[in-house]
Symmetry: C2
Subunit: 201 residues, 2 copies
Amino acid sequence: MPKAIDFYFDFSSPYAYFAAQKIDDVAMEFGGRDVEWRPFLLGVAMQSTKNQPLAHQPMKGEYCTADWDRLARFMKVPWQLPEKFPIASLAPARAYYWIYDQDKALAKDFAKACFSAYFSGGSDITKPPVVGEIGGALGIDAAELEAAIADNAIKERLKDETLTAIQAGVFGSPFFIVDDEKFWGSDRIWMIKRWLKTGGW
Amino acid sequence: MPKAIDFYFDFSSPYAYFAAQKIDDVAMEFGGRDVEWRPFLLGVAMQSTKNQPLAHQPMKGEYCTADWDRLARFMKVPWQLPEKFPIASLAPARAYYWIYDQDKALAKDFAKACFSAYFSGGSDITKPPVVGEIGGALGIDAAELEAAIADNAIKERLKDETLTAIQAGVFGSPFFIVDDEKFWGSDRIWMIKRWLKTGGW
């Protein structure tokens, strides 16, 4: 089995939500590859690049808001821009790694459920009890999950994952690394397909 | 004939250079439409969005530099990142509008020649004599073109075009407006195709 594709994302990123709908299928169909989902804190990376959240940028914010609606209609994906947006995604990202260390497949299901809860269900995934409930619906012990979010080892883990991402050159969300090749943005999935198919150029 | 597509760009923008290779063909093939090429000063728009040139942003600059090489190889388009980059594109943009007012088709040929001269020929298109020479090769009077670049009316014209672009919501390069629908980036040409084909969604 060839190396998994790294999929870096922040739970607060709409373009990551859209990319998450299809990256696993693309990786498998075009490259026979797994995808490693790697949530990180985009806000920390943005301190390195001196960037601002899209929604906070004049003009660009309005464009992107309309673009998310347009993409959702095109992809026929449930979508509602959350009232609280963007968010600091510490709670779901920490919870993800706690689950991941026990069950990688379950962690991916959990990530998908968080994306849905936030971007189509209007849930406030910054709140540990909400994250606990999302985990609970997947058979995870909600109380344990909530406790994990407050655990120092998991806090450190997310910091490490974020720094590792930045060191790998990740500055946006979604961001993909295929072998050593970087692809930034949900708009580059077409290029990942061709890269996988051809082995690069 | 349906309304032309507006193609806003800065002569200093690599992604605009790549988009310029195909937008006319896409507009004609998928929508039977002309494309109106509208150079503007991206630096002025970036003051509105508080953005920085891609090449000046940590991490993003390195990514984009590699991405331009990759795109050029993929599209089989001549490409060499100019030594002087990015540039203030006043000279070619002013020259464009002076030519445009006399001959729209010639202005487009001139724009293409400027893009090639800068992004594959290593010419410094900030210099009026260089721009004059590019025009001269297309049968334009080089001395008149150089004089036009220094003319107050043309200076005002480019300012007006830039402000009009910003008022229309343009904040990046390339940027396309199809009827009232905005598309930002060379990565969105696929979406323009579908929009033209389907009439939107």
